[in-house]
C-alpha cells in the first residue's frame, strides 16, 4: 500500500494555497516515479500552520506546515514521505503538537483526521454510533440523556439544549422541525464552518438524533451563503447519508424518518438570530419575531421547532455515543463539557481551541494564541462576537464559564476571541460596534433601528470633542435604551462593547479622532 499524504481542503487551507501544494506534490512525486495516495482531509484547526501537510508513517502521522508550493520540492528531498523531521517546517508527530495536545477535543475529535465525505472513515471513528444508540431509545430517553449532559446552546444564548428539546417533544403537532443555525456571522468565528467542511456527518448525525428525540421528521440547515464549500460538502454528505440509510425514510430500518436539506441564507447577520432565521427560512424578510411564542412551540411555519447552533447539534453524537456523563465530567459549574474557542484578530497562533470550560482567558490567549501577531502588548479582547464586551487585562483571568462572564456583563457567545494590541483605539471600536448594528439591524424595533445610527453620530461627536460631557451622558442613555428596549439581542447587546469600552478605556474617548488628547 502506498503512503498516504494528507493535504486539507477546508476553506482556510484552500485560501492559503492548499490546492497548489497538493497539485505540486502530485506532480513532483509523479516526476520522481513515486506512488502515494493523496487524501484531502479536513483541517486540524491549527490555522496558523495551514496548509498543514501530514504524512502517515508506521508510527503515526507527521505534520509539516505551513507549507507553500515552493517548499514542496525541498520537503520531499528532506524525506517527507518517511516522516523525516530535519526540515524547518517539520512539526513532528501531529498529535504531539502542543497546541493540539493541550486541547480536550470531544466535538472536534475527528476533524483533520478523516476524509470529510467518507462514511467509512466516519464510522471507523465511532461515527453514527450515537444515532444507532438513539434509534434504540424512546424520545424521552434521548432528551434525558442530553439534559444530563448539561449541554447548553453554543450559539451564544447558552440555553439548556435538553430543556428546549423537551418543550418541542411535549408540544403536539402534525409536523415538527429541526433547524440548524449555520449562519455563522460573528467576527473571528469559524468553528461551525470547520464542522460542516471537515466533519459534516457529525452535524447530520446530531440533527437526526434531535429529530428522533423530539419526533421531528424534517430538518433544515440554514447556511450562510458565504460558505459555498460547506454547502457543497453538506449536500454531498446528505446524499451519501441518505444512501447509507442515515437520513430519509425508515432510518436504518427503524421505521423512523428524518429528512434534511440545506437552505442558503441571503447575507444578513440578523438571520443568525433564531426568529429572523425562521422568517428567512420561510421565504420572508429576515425580521425578528417577538417571543413568546417560543420557536419551540410556534417555530418554522408555526410548528414546534428546535433551533440549535451547529456546535450544539455537533456535540450530540458524542453524548449519545459515549453517554452524558462522559461529556458532563468536563467543565465547571453550570457550564458542562467543552467549548470551541476561535482565536482571531491580532493573534500569533490563530485557530480552533476546544477546551473544557474553566480555563482562563489569559491561558487561552497566551499559551495557545502566543500573544499578538504584531508582537506589541495585548490591550483588549472581544469575546463572543461583535456584541460581546471588550475585556481589559483586569478581566483576563476570568475562567471561561457562562456565569463568570455574565457576572462581568460579558459573554462567551459562540466562542469567538478577537485580540487587539496596544495600537487599538477603543473609541473607534465602540463606534464600530454601533456601526455594525446600524448596518445589520433588521429595522423592526426603534431602539435598534434608529439608536444604532444615532450611536455612531454621538460617538463621532464625542471623538470630535463636541459638547463632550453632554454627549457622553447621551451615549450612556442611548445604551440603556437599547439594552432595555430592543426586541432582540442585536440591539440589546450592541451596547455591551460600547459600555465596556467606555468603562475600561475611558481615555480613548478623551482623544479626538486624530489622536490628540484634549
Amino acid at each position: 500500500m502506498s503512503t498516504r499524504i494528507f493535504v486539507p481542503r477546508d476553506t482556510t487551507a484552500l485560501s492559503l494555497g492548499a490546492d497548489a501544494v497538493a497539485n505540486r506534490l502530485e506532480k513532483e512525486l509523479d516526476a520522481r516515479g513515486q506512488s502515494i495516495s493523496l487524501v484531502r482531509n479536513g483541517s486540524r484547526g491549527l490555522a496558523w500552520l495551514e496548509p498543514l501537510v501530514e504524512v502517515e508513517t508506521p508510527i503515526g502521522r507527521f505534520a509539516y506546515g505551513p507549507v507553500t508550493v515552493n517548499d514542496v520540492s525541498a520537503l520531499l528531498d528532506s524525506g517527507l514521505l518517511e516522516g523525516n523531521v530535519s526540515h524547518p517546517l517539520a512539526l513532528g508527530p501531529t498529535e504531539e503538537i502542543d497546541y493540539l495536545a493541550r486541547q480536550q477535543r470531544l466535538t472536534f475529535a475527528r476533524i483533520g483526521i478523516t476524509d470529510p465525505l467518507s462514511i467509512e472513515d466516519y464510522r471507523a471513528h465511532i461515527g453514527f454510533s450515537g444515532l444507532e444508540t438513539a434509534l434504540q431509545r424512546e424520545p424521552q430517553d434521548i432528551v434525558e440523556e442530553v439534559k444530563a449532559s448539561g449541554l447548553r446552546g453554543r450559539g451564544g444564548a447558552a440555553f439548556p439544549t435538553g430543556i428546549k428539546w423537551q418543550t418541542v417533544l411535549d408540544t403536539p403537532a402534525d409536523q415538527k422541525y429541526i433547524v440548524c443555525n449555520a449562519d455563522e456571522g460573528d467576527s473571528g468565528t469559524f468553528a461551525d464552518r470547520l464542522v460542516m467542511e471537515c466533519d459534516p456527518y457529525m452535524l447530520i448525525e446530531g440533527m437526526a438524533i434531535a429529530g428522533l428525540a423530539v419526533q421531528a421528521t424534517q430538518g433544515y440547515i440554514y447556511l450562510r451563503s458565504e460558505y459555498p464549500l460547506a454547502k457543497e460538502v453538506l449536500d454531498e454528505a446528505i446524499a451519501r447519508a441518505e444512501q447509507a440509510g442515515y437520513l430519509g425514510d425508515n432510518l436504518r430500518g427503524s421505521g423512523r424518518d428524518f429528512h434534511l436539506e440545506v437552505r442558503l441564507g441571503a447575507g444578513a447577520y440578523i438571520c443568525g438570530e433564531e426568529t429572523s432565521l425562521l422568517e428567512s427560512l420561510e421565504g420572508k424578510r429576515g425580521l425578528v419575531r417577538f417571543k413568546p411564542p417560543l420557536p419551540a412551540i410556534e417555530g418554522l411555519f408555526g410548528r414546534p421547532t428546535v433551533v440549535n447552533n451547529v456546535l450544539s447539534l455537533a456535540a450530540v453524537p458524542f453524548i449519545l455515543a459515549e453517554g452524558a456523563e462522559a461529556y458532563a465530567t468536563h467543565g465547571m459549574g453550570r457550564s458542562r463539557g467543552t467549548l470551541a474557542l476561535q482565536l482571531a484578530g491580532n493573534v500569533k497562533h490563530g485557530g480552533l481551541v476546544e477546551l473544557a470550560f474553566g480555563t482562563t482567558l489569559r491561558t487561552l490567549m497566551e499559551t495557545f494564541g502566543g500573544g499578538t501577531l504584531s508582537g506589541k502588548p495585548l490591550r483588549a479582547v472581544q469575546v463572543g462576537g461583535p456584541l460581546g464586551a471588550y475585556l481589559p487585562e483586569s478581566q483576563w483571568d476570568l475562567p471561561l464559564d457562562y456565569e463568570a462572564f455574565a457576572a462581568e456583563s460579558a459573554v462567551l457567545g459562540h466562542g469567538g476571541v478577537v485580540m487587539f494590541d496596544e495600537s487599538v483605539d477603543m473609541a473607534e471600536q465602540a463606534r464600530f460596534s454601533m456601526e455594525f448594528c446600524k448596518v445589520e439591524s433588521c429595522g423592526k424595533c426603534t431602539p435598534c433601528r434608529i439608536g444604532s445610527t444615532r450611536g455612531v453620530e454621538v460617538i463621532d461627536r464625542i471623538r470630535a470633542n463636541q459638547n463632550r460631557e453632554a454627549n457622553l451622558a447621551l451615549l450612556h442613555d442611548l445604551c440603556e435604551t437599547m439594552v432595555d428596549g430592543s426586541l432582540c439581542a442585536m440591539g440589546g447587546m450592541t451596547p455591551f462593547p460600547v459600555q465596556s469600552a467606555l468603562a475600561h478605556f475611558p481615555d480613548d474617548f478623551q482623544r479626538t479622532a486624530n489622536g490628540d488628547n484634549s
Binding site: G443, C445, T446, C448, R449, E480, T481
Partner: protein, 963 residues
Amino acid sequence: MINHFDPRQHSSSVEYNKDLGTPFPASAADAALVSLNIDGVTISVPEGTSVLRAAALADINIPKLCATDSLEPFGSCRLCAVQVEGRRGMPAACTTPVAEGMKVTTQNERLAKLRRNVMELYISDHPLDCLTCPANGDCELQDMAGSVGLREVRYGFEGENHLEAAKDETNPYFSFDPSKCIVCSRCVRACEEVQGTFALTIDGRGFESKVSAGQADSFMDSDCVSCGACVQACPTATLMEKSVIDHGVPEHSVVTTCAYCGVGCSFEAQMKGDQLVRMVPYKGGDANHGHSCVKGRFAFGYATHPDRLTSPMVRDSIDQPWREVSWEEAIGFAASRLKAIQAKHGRESIGGITSSRCTNEETYLVQKLIRAAFGNNNTDTCARVCHSPTGYGLKTTLGESAGTQTFDSVMKADAIIVIGANPTDAHPVFGSLMRKRLRQGAKLIVADPRHIDLLKTPHMSSAQHLPLRPGTNVALINALGHVVVTEGLEDKAFVEKRCDTEAYHRWRAFISEPRHSPEASAEITGVPAEAVRQAARTYAKAANGAIYYGLGVTEHSQGSTMVMGIANLAMATGNIGREGVGVNPLRGQNNVQGSCDMGSFPHELPGYQHVADPIARGRFESVWGVKLDDEPGLRIPNMFDAAIEGTFKALYVQGEDIAQSDPNTQHVEAALTSLDCLIVQDIFLNETAKFAHVLLPGSSFLEKNGTFTNAERRINRVRKVMPALAGKEDWEVTQDLANALGYPMYYTHPSEIMDEIAQLTPSFAGVSYAKLEERGSLQWPCNAEYPLGMPTMHEVDFPIGLGRFAITEYVATEERANRRFPLLLTTGRILSQYNVGAQTRRTDNQRWHDEDVLELHPSDAELRGVRDGDWLGITSRSGQTVLRARLSERMQPGVVYTTFHHPGSGANVITTDNSDWATNCPEYKVTAVQVEKVSQPSAWQQRFNTFDLIQRDHLAKANQEAP
C-alpha cells in the same frame, strides 16, 4: 337636520372608538378567564389577551404606536414596555399575553425614561412641522410624544434622516409622505392582514427601512388596490387622505352605511359642517369590522359632482329641451299624465320600478304607490336582472329567499366553493375576509370560466379551479352532486332529519344516473372529471363546507335551476344550519336584498307574501285602506314588450338605469321611446333619463335617513349627513306623487315607514329604528321569536319545515357558439367601477378603468390577428359594438369578457333577451359572438353618441334658463 350618532351613547358593551391595541384574541371565544393585576387594578380577561388590551379594557392606557386593535401585535415600537413582577426586563405589553396572578406595572420612573428615550429617537428623524401638518390633531405620534413627556431631542437634527424623502402623490385619494414615516409597519400589516393584497412591504433594513409599494413602484403602479386600509392604519400623516390635506381634520362624524355593493359596510362620514371630508370604515360595522374598499372609502365625490340634478324638470317629448320647474309643478305634471294615461289605456297601462340603491323605506313606498295608488301590481326591480333566481331557487328548496349566513361565518369554513362570483372585485371587503380565511388554511374551489384573482390569493394553502364553459353550471353542479351521492359522501343523518324524504329520494335517483357523472358531463362543461371529483370530495369531506355564488350563477337561462342545485348540494352534505357552512348569494347592489324583501316584485307583497294570498293581502288592504289586485303584475321585460306593443304607456323609475343595465339595449330603447310618460327619479341624467318626460332629482345616500339590507340580511341604518341637494329625500318625492294621485301618505320620517313595514311583514316584525340604534344592525327574520334577529338561518328547521331537494335537469341554453358566432361573451365587474358607473365614473376611480375593454385569450386573438389595444367589433345576434382588445390569460380560449361600466361601451347592445325560465333574469353571462378588427365605432355607438350629445344639450338648456 343632521343626526349625530355617537355609538358610545348607544353601545352597551364595546367601545368601538377606542383602540384597545391588540385584537380580540382568536382563541378567546371560549377561553377561560384569567385574572391579573395592573397598577393595582384587578381585571379578568380571556386567556390569550395581551397585557396591552387588558390594561386598555381597565382604562389604563399604556402608550403605544405600532399596536392597533385591527392588527396582530408586532412589538416594534417598544413604547408599551411594562414591568412584570418576577420577570426580567421590560417586555412590550402588546406581545405579552396575560397570565393568572400576573402583576403588571405600567408607569414608573424607569419605564417613563425608556419611553421618553425611545420617543426621542423617533423625533430625531421626524419633521417638526406639527402645526402645519395635515395630521395635526389626529396624530398618534403627536399624542404619544405628549403622553411620554418628551421635552427635548438631544441628538439634534443634523444627523442622518429621512426628512427630504420625496412624496408619492400618484394615488388620487391619498398621499404617501415617507418623511413622516416612523416605520411601524402598520400599513404593511394592514395590507397583508386586513386587505390580503400584500402590495406593501418594508424595503431595506435597519435605518434604511422604508415602506415601499411593490418593488419601489409608485402606489399607483403597484399592486395596491387603494382599499385605504393602510391609510386607516397609519398613525401619522405619512399616509393621508388628500381631502384631509386639502380641508383639514373633520369636526364631527356620523355612522352610516355605504351605498355601493351588497356587503353593506358601515362608515363614519367625517364632516366639517355639511361638507363630507372623508369616509372612514367603522370598526363597529358588523359587516366590515372597520375595513373598506376603494369605492366606499374614497369614491364619494359623485355626491357633490356638478352633474348632480338639482331641480325637477319636465318636457312633453324627448326631442325637447328640459324645463326646470318647481317640485309642485313637476309632481303635478307627472300625476296628471299618469291619470290621463290610466283613464285612456286602463289601470294596467302604467307601472314602476323600485330601486335597489334606495333605502328599504323608499323601496317600500314605491311599491306601495304602485299597488295602492296606481292600483296594479306592475312593480319590479333590478333584482329581476340579477338575483331573482336566488329568490325563487332558495325559496323553493330552503323556504327563504335569502343567504343563510353572516359574512363572519366564512371564518369557520374549511372548504369554500365560489361559483360565478368574483368577490375581490365585486365584494372586495368580503373578498378580503375570505382571503384571510384562505390564508388560515381553508381550501378554495372556484367554478368560473375565468381565472379570477381569488385564485391568486397570496399564502393560501390549496385552490382548485374548475374552468367551466359559460352556460354549463347546472351540468357541473349535477356532477358534483353525483360524486357526493355515488361516493357515499352524503350527510345521511342531516338529510334524514331535516329534509323531505320523498323529494330527496327522487333527487337521489336522478342525480345517481350515470349521465350526471363527471366523466359524462366533462364534454359539456369542459372540466376534467377528476377535478370535479376532487372538488366534490374536498367540499363534502370538510368539517364545514360553504358555498358562495354570484351573478355567474343566476344570470343564465337556468339560473333558478342552478340555485336549486346549489341548495341540493348543501343539503346533501349537511352544510346548512350552523356557522361556517351555508348557501350564500353575494348581492350586487347595496340594497338588492332589501328591495326584494320590500315587495318590489310583481307577485309578492313585502316579506315575500304572495299577492294571491288573501290573508296577507287582506292585512295590507286594511292598513293601506285600498283594495289590492290579486294578480301578479308585469315584470320588467314584460313591461318593455307591452310598451312596444302599445299597451303599456307610463313608467316611474326610481334610481335604476334600465337603459344601460338591461340586456338587448336596442330593444330597451325601443320600449322607452314608446312610452307616453317616463318619470325618472335619479341623482344624474342617466341613460334612462334621456328618454324621460319628468326628471325628479334624487337624493344621495348621504342626504337621507333610512335602512339598507345587505347580502347577509343585515339591516343597517343610513343616516343623513347633509341636506338633500334638491330639497327632498326620495321617499318624500314618492309620497308627494302618491298624494298628487289622490292616495294619501303622511309620513314625517322614514322610521314611520319602517314601523309600517314591521306591522305588515312578519320577518320584520321586531325591527324598529330604536332597536337599530341600540343594536347597530339586525339580521332578519327579527320578530317575537327572534327579537335580536337571526344571524344563521335554518339552524333547527326550514321555514317550509323540511328542506326540499329539487330535480335539476341540465338544459343547454339556446345561446351557443356556432360558426357564425364562435365565441362566448360573458360580462362582469371590475373593482374600481360600480355597476353602470354613474357614481364611480364621476370620481377619480376613472384613473383605474376609464373604458371597458374586451378581454380575450391570446390564442383567440392570434387566430384573428388581434393585438392588445386593437379596436374590435363584437357582434351577436342582438347587435354590434366596438371595444378595445385586451389579451388575457385569465380567459379560457373561446370565451371573451367585458364589463358594462361605461354606457358608450354598449355591452348590453350585444346581450340577448334570453332569460331564466323561472324568473326572466337575463342571460347576461352567455352571448355567442364573433369579434373582428374594425376601425370605427359601431352604428349603435355612433347613434348613442349623437343622442347623448343632444340630450346633454337639452339638459344644459334647462340649466341656462334657470333663474
